[in-house]
Every structure is written in C-alpha cells, then in structure tokens.
Symmetry: C2
C-alpha cells in the first residue's frame, strides 16, 4: 500500500485529556478516531489488525468445534423479558425506537438470542454438545465511557456459548476453551494470565498484564496460579505463638480509633490487634474479625454469608447495638444474637488487643475462644503479597492488568428461565447446561497497544502488525532512491509481504516519526546509499539498525519473519 494513497492521519502532539497510553497512541498513529462519547471509527490500520486477530480467533474456535453464526444487533424485548434482563439491564442497555412497537434493544449479550435460536431446533441430547460463536459489534451504554476502546459504548467482541446435556460435557468444553484462549493470546504475542474469577471453578478471566491496569490480580511466583484480587483464596498455615495466655486488662485509649493510631499509641504491631467490623445482613448484625494488618474481603464475606444485601453498619447502628463509637468496638461481650466470624489468622492470635465496646477503651491480652466465641473461621480476607500461594507452590505477588476474556459456566440459569430444553437419553426433558465465553476484540487492540509501545510509538508483534514492512524513501525527488524503492516494493509484494510504502513528498524526519508511531516490525529505508544498492533496515522492537545489500533483502526478511 502506497502511503500517499491511503489514509493514516497521524498527530504530532498528544491529544489533551487522554491519559491511557494506548488510547493516545492509537489516536496519534491514525488507528482510530472518536465519533461521539465512547464511540469510535476504526481506520484502515486498525482494520488490518482486526483481520489478523479475527483469523486467529476463528482458527482456534473452529479447532474446538466452534460454529460461527451471526445474531442480530437488534434484540426483541420478548426474549429479554423471559430472563427479566429487559428490566434488570437498566440504563446499560440502549433502547431502540422503531415504528412499530418500541420494543427493541441493541445487543450487549446474547444468552437469550442463542437459547431462542436453539430451543426450537435442538430437541435431543444426540445433537449436543454444540459450541456456537460469533464476532460482532456490541453495545453498552456505559455510564462513563473512558480509556478509549476499553470502555466504549460500541465495541467488537467474540462471544461463544456452549450447550451440553451433562455437566461432564460442559467441564470438558470449558477446559478446551481455556486451551483455545491460551493458544489465541499466545499467538497474539500477549503477556497474560488466566485468573480465577469466582469462588469455585466456574469462572475464569484472561488478564493482559499491563503497567496500569483496571484489574489487580494475585499470582504465584512459582506456578500458574492466578486470581482476581477479590477471588484469590488465602491458604496460610499460621503459627500460634507459644505464649501463655495472660489476664485480660481494660485500658484507656483516648481518641485511638484506627488500627494505625492504636498500634502507635500502644507500641504494638498491627498483627497483634484484632480488627472488628460490624455488618448489617438482612435484619441481623454480624461481627467480622481479622488481624489488624489484614483487610476484610467483602466479596468473600458475601459469598460465605450467601446473602443478597449486606452493608457495613452505620455509626448510629453501632452506637445502638454496642453503646460506643466504631473505633472502640470488639468481639468481647457482644449482645446475644450477634454472630462472630473470624478470619483463619485470628485462630493463631494470643494476648492481643481488641476494642472494649466502651468509648476510648481497649482490652489487652484478649484471647479468641477464651474471651469471645467464634461462630466460624472463614477465609474472609484479601490475599497479601508474600502469602503462600493457595496451590502450595510459591508465594503470592500482585500485578495489574486488563481483562480481555471471560469464561463462565452458566449451568442452567438461563435455559431454565427460557425453557431451553432437550430430551435426555431416558426421554426426560432437561434444560440445556451452558457455558459462555467472551473475548473483547476492540479491547484486545487497545490492550496489545498498551503492552507494545515505547516513548516514540507503537511496536506491534510481527504476527499482528497491520503491515509487515514499512518502506521509506528518504527523498522522493531522488530518482535513484525512487527507482530502487519501486523495484523493491514490487518484489516484496510479489512475495506476499504486506508493505506500507511511504512514497510521500514529506521530509525524512516526518516520515520517521510517523513510522515510529505506526510501529511496524521492520523498516526499510532507501536513502543516499541507494546508488550502491544498499538499504538501511531497522527492527522496531530492538531498535537495531543494519545495512543490507538489496540482493539479500528477501532472504533476511524471510529469516526474520519465520523466526518465532
């Protein structure tokens, strides 16, 4: 493609108000433009990357017997009402006014549509399992569109749904999809981790590791274990100190209301202070205690309590319940009926500090189980860096990233609601057992850009770059240069390289700056030594620069592109 004949609008300056590096670069390098808040145009460079991403996705999905279809963007309310998502989506869903019924929405997810399709057509277990996928534009009216393609209101996603007659069949497909996703992201050249994203084994996310991500993940430094922060389990063997239990003493702690204040006031380590929190759960109050240096993970707590509504008790509620301020509460001598749940670490605490349930007083030498009852020990805290990995291999580290894919065992939730059923081998009507598997494609574009750039611009992995080679004539008025460039361009194209040929009558500096921004893996510069048949080659990733004789170009390119 001759650059003079295409449309790659680059920008010299960083657009204002845009913080995310990938967003800046995709705009500056002419990959995308914004049309409206959270709505983007993909320009030709982005289209070329999408084509490559999509080809990889199709191959890997087809390798696990994925069947590609295309459901419409317009969704009818009737199916969304069957799962009550017509209402529960709320303002995230775009409603569409049509001339007939005003009962259409723009698709943000297709569980309903896919069940509606299959429930009429797949009536026997013999036709299962089926894995259906599509690559589609999706719509979600984000309350605050941001970070360019990461939180846009119109985006491209691969989604897939699998249908099974048995749990085992779902489990098997789930593992296949995991492998397919691993293959895809590996082929895309990404740095990523598959992380656990629920308490069980029914949900995993693929997180692209980035310096500034939206997701924090905990991973083992010595195994494949990784989980979203809120889901990372804590499996630590706490050692109980061999101390003699001492007598509990009440002491005055005026105005010491936080763990930090108290630790410094009493000169004790926060590890020796019990952190107490009261939650209102339905109509009851529950006290949750953990070590002072730990943080309660409300996701875990909520799952453990298995309740819909749970919130931290207000100052007033605590005052009414315990007769003191929040800063002085503790698990000793609670009113009858207040359950106490303790993190496992509490079991190993001896002679520690806790609130006295009297304003400005704390207790010393508190010993769990001796001084207060514990209804249950539960994994209730956030994992910390340095904790042992739950799989017993290595220790936990933290990193940040961006979620690009999500695998979920849906089970029969949707199929029961929608009466999506089949006859099993005994002739009984059963709901489809389902899995869902999404992968953000426009998100991948942004994420890869986030992973592969430097201060000058983008640096595409070679299998994904919009073109293989950026060929630049230093001076288009120089006939020798132009002739060599034209000749080389023809040869490279005939060898099926995708070449972006910068034949523009611009200064060399402008051309190099654009090439840095665009970020193709190999740059061939045809300059002053064209008369000797010598071109300069630069690798974008390494920055390495070498002179090649024109005769050796093909061979050297082949060795570069065929290497892993």
């Amino acid at each position: 493609m001759k650059q003079s004949k295409t449309f790659i609008p680059t920008m010299r300056e960083n657009p204002s108000d845009i913080e995310m590096r990938s967003h800046q670069l995709l705009l500056r390098a002419g990959y995308i433009r914004q049309n409206a808040n959270g709505v983007y145009t993909y320009l030709t460079l982005a289209q070329r990357v999408f084509r490559k991403i999509e080809a990889i996705i199709r191959q890997e999905m087809e390798a696990i017997e994925g069947i590609e279809i295309s459901l419409p963007a317009l969704q009818s309310s009737s199916i969304l009402k069957e799962t009550e998502r017509w209402d529960s989506y709320g303002k995230e869903m775009f409603h569409v006014a049509d001339r007939q019924t005003n009962q259409l929405a723009l698709s943000s997810s297709d569980e309903e549509a896919i069940i509606d399709l299959l429930r009429d057509e797949v009536r026997s277990y013999k036709k299962l399992p089926l894995t259906i996928f599509q690559i589609k534009t999706k719509f979600r009216d984000e309350i605050k569109p941001r970070a360019g393609l990461l939180h846009s209101r119109e985006f491209i996603r691969k989604d897939a749904y699998s249908f099974h007659s048995t749990e085992e069949s779902l489990d098997e497909k789930y593992l296949e999809v995991m492998q397919a996703y691993t293959n895809m992201l590996t082929r895309l050249g990404m740095h990523f981790r598959m992380v656990i994203s629920d308490g069980g084994t029914g949900s995993h996310e693929f997180i692209a590791l980035t310096e500034n991500g939206e997701d924090r993940i905990a991973y083992s430094d010595s195994s494949s274990y990784a989980a979203n922060m809120e889901f990372a389990e804590v499996h630590v063997d706490y050692e109980t100190p061999k101390e003699k239990q001492l007598e509990m003493i009440k002491i005055s702690t005026p105005n010491q209301r936080t763990i930090e204040d108290l630790a410094s006031f009493l000169s004790v380590n926060p590890e020796r202070i019990i952190k107490s929190l009261v939650y209102k759960v339905d109509n009851d109050f529950v006290m949750v205690v953990c070590r002072g240096d730990h943080c309660v993970n409300e996701y875990k707590l909520k799952r453990f309590l298995n309740v819909k509504h749970m919130e931290l008790a207000t100052g007033q509620q605590i005052e009414e319940l315990l007769g003191c301020h929040t800063g002085s509460i503790g698990p000793v001598k609670l009113p009858i009926g207040v359950r106490v749940y303790a993190d496992h670490a509490v079991k190993a605490m001896v002679n520690v500090v806790a609130g006295a349930n009297i304003d400005d007083y704390h207790l010393l030498n508190v010993n769990p189980e001796r001084d207060f009852a514990i209804d249950d020990y539960v994994d209730i805290r956030f994992v910390q860096e340095g904790d042992a990995s739950p799989d017993g291999m290595g220790t936990i580290k933290f990193t940040e990233g961006i979620g690009v894919g999500h695998l979920r065992k849906l089970g029969t939730i949707f199929s029961e609601q929608m009466k999506g059923t089949f006859l099993n081998e005994h002739g009984r009507t059963k709901p489809f057992i389902m899995g869902s598997y999404s992968l953000g494609i426009s998100r991948l574009l942004a994420t890869i850009a986030e992973q592969f750039n430097d201060e000058k611009g983008l640096k595409w992995p070679k299998h994904l770059a919009p073109f293989d080679i950026h060929m630049i004539t230093m001076n288009v008025k120089d006939e020798v240069q132009t002739q060599l460039a034209d000749e080389l361009y023809a040869v490279l194209e005939s060898y099926r390289y995708d070449v972006l040929y910068d034949d523009r009558a611009e200064r060399a500096g402008v051309k190099f700056a654009d090439a840095d921004l665009i970020g193709l893996p190999v740059r061939i510069i045809i300059g002053k030594r064209a008369n000797e048949g010598i071109v300069e080659v630069m690798y974008r990733h390494s920055g390495e620069s070498i002179d090649w004789q024109k005769e050796e170009v093909l061979e050297k390119l082949q060795s570069f592109f065929s290497a892993d």
Copy 2:
C-alpha cells in the same frame, strides 16, 4: 466439518406465508432464521458464504485503491442535522435512547460520518483522491419488511465513498468502480446487468437478473445498454405517414372514455389516437400528449419540468379547466396558459383522433401543429419492447431483477452542506467532490440463492459455496463405508478442500434431501461399493452422477474446481 457436530437446521416443508423462493430455501436449508420482523440470524452456512463474498469485495475494492475502515453503527445527531437528514430520514431511521442525550441513531448511510471524518484530516488537494470503503451492518426501519434478506431492517452492506478535487478525477474513479463491480459480480458467478438509473450519467445500478424481481429493466439485445424502466431513454425515428392532412371533424363517442374503448368503437389502431393527460404543476396546468399505445413516464416528465410537485389533475380540476370529463379531453382549443408537451412520436401523427374537450365527443383528422400548438417535443414516454435501443445497437427487451449495487456521483451536495472542504492548487477553499458506491451483501446472498436453485434446493456457484464438497456416508453403521469416508475426509481436508461430511446416523433419504437443499457443488456418496473402493460423485449443477475409484478422487476434483 462433520455434520453431526455443526448446526444446520433443515426443514422438510416450505414455511408458510413465505413467497420468495430464495427466502424459502435459505430458511429450509438452514442458512438463516428470523429473530424479529425483518431481523435475521445468519447461521454458519450463510457466514461461510459471506466470508467468500467479502474476500472478493475486499480484493476488488483494494485493487482500485479502496481503503477499508469501519464507521460506528451509532450516529450522533449533530452530523445528521448538518444535512437535515436527522429530520428527513423520518421513521426509516432507528432512534436510539441513550442515558445522556437521546440524540443517537443507527446508521443507514454514512455520508455524514465519512465527511465528518475527512473534513478534519484532509485539507489539501494533494491528499486526494481517496476512496474509503467498509463492510458493515446497517439499519433501516422499513415500513414493511419483506422478502427475507431483500427488505430487512438490519442488513450487511459494503459502502464506499470517494473524494476528489476535480470532476475528472471523480469520473475516472466512477469508471474504475464500475469495472470493480463488474469484476466482483462476475467472480460471484452472477447474471447481472449494469443499468442507467438516472437521466444523466451520474447513477448506475447493478441489477441481478431474476425471474421475479422488484425492478424492471430495459436492455438492448445487441449491446451493453440497459436502464431502469423509468430512466430508459427512447430514441426512435418515427416515420411520418405520407397522408394528406384531412379536415378535422367532431364526432359523437358516447361513453368512450379509454383509449381501448375508443379504438374499438372507432375501429382504429391506438397508434392513431392521441392520449392526453393533464397535470397540475405547482399552480399551473400542463397537458401532456403521447401516442395511444404509449405510456407517459412521469419520472421523465418530472425531470423535464424540473419541479418538485406534480400530480395528475383531478376530475374536478379538469371539469373546471376544460368543461368536460377526463375521458374526452384533448389538446385542441385549450384555454390560454395551458402548456402542451408532446412525446416525439406525436410529431409523426397524421389525421389522428383526439378528445374534443366536450363530454362524449372526439375529433377525427387531428393534425399536431396544424390543429394545436406544442410547446415542446420531449422524450416523455416509457420505452417499449421492440423499440430501437437508444445507443443505436439492437432493440429493447425487458427483464426483471433485483438491485444489488448502486453507484452515484454525489458531487458536492453533502460536502457543501457539511463544509467538507480542501484547498485546491490555487489555495482556494473548495468542497470535496464525492461519489458513493453501495453493494448489498446480505442482499447478494438472497439474490444468488434466487438465481441458483431448482425444485430441490440451492445450487451454489462453486466459488461461493459454503463448502466445496458434501461427503455422505450412506450407512454410518457400515464400517467399510465409515472407514473409507473418514480416510477420504482426512485426505480432502489436507488438500484444503472445505468438506461438509455428513456422518449423521440418519437415513440416506434424509441426507440426500438435506444435501439437495444445502446445494454444495460436488457430492461424494460413500455407499455399498465402498468395499470396491468406489464412490459415487454427483455434480449439483448438472445433476450428473459418476462412479469414481477412490484413487482418482483428488485428480478429478482438482480438474473440476480449477475449470472456469
């Protein structure tokens, strides 16, 4: 692809209420399903055809320097208000409710979006011409969605827009696009005609010829000339009969109000009767006359008069103007101020019949120009079969078809409205000169299905078929058959044939009926003679059936698929 593992839901019976053949077959053969009124899901077979169509479109558009981008589906009102289409689209446009402004619509056309993109980025004639294309889902709230994919509310279209600094550059690109479209449709294997679809040279349609089409076209039997009926010019040399002009006579013609009645009452050929029509044009009345066997083409009339509003005068208006009923009007002795326009054929009429402007009276021996004045002779009638072709080659025939592509010289209409300008070589600000070029992709699927079928099902052209080969095991319980089929399947896949392998435990009759419906070009049946290494091959197009030795399968397939 093993048929047992994919999703091709065929139907034995024709769905009720569906008239169009292609629509019936695409449903029955499991290519599409309807989700809502005018909204369809494309199943895997359709997706495979789309991939092939799209690859051809991309190649041909890129060959004429088309640049692929992707504009969003969500369009902001601000740009649509610049061209006033936010209002003028009316109910054809889907409005989208969003949480902020309620000022979004779903794209049905992208003139505004593309100008909005380029007006900020292309400021000099040096960056022109540019041809931008995209393959996108589009939305139009048809008042009456019908004929399956032909008039759906959500559809796939390739659209393209070209931008130029001179008319010559637009003309050149327009011809290139014409050639590209001709190449595409030829490669798709379609029967089509490019037809003139306006009075000048600024609009052409590509019409797929079908038995029952929505469009009627006139074409030359001996040249490439073709036009939409309403735009087909009439260039006929009428011979003036060598008769002496006779004296005009008024005669009674009681209740003879149509040309047919009158011709039979007077025993004259309709060619010898003047057909007179009165139109109300703004605040004036105009009489239009043509030969009794011709039909006035109101499109041509309206273009000639160059007016916005024009309608046939009512009976009452005619009574007030001429004092008689519609059936007795004629051009002789009209009130002052009523202009008369005559079709060219009228010039050659001698001693003919016309209405007398008196109820139940006509005039005989009327001679134009002697008996009434003619303001202008104009090409004002519909072309007829048997007329000479306007290009002087051959005679006109009629046929029907379905419009699949539309080329238009937009000129500066939109760019002036939207201030889409560039600086020309003299430094003057000029509006972009534009062309637009659409091609309906979901429409093509339906149209090709309409052109290639028989009573049993679809018959895909081989370059477009969703799979190359349908391989069928007659009896999957027969180990010899299954083994040969598995073996052949592996070999064919390794030779990069796309094979649909019917390994289902269905009766052979069911499998054959499905295969007929689906319509792949080559069928390989593995049946009783598997033990001799013999398979039966059937060509879907010719219906020809031959036995092949398994060893010769590859060679024979290659010669079939490499032939034109």
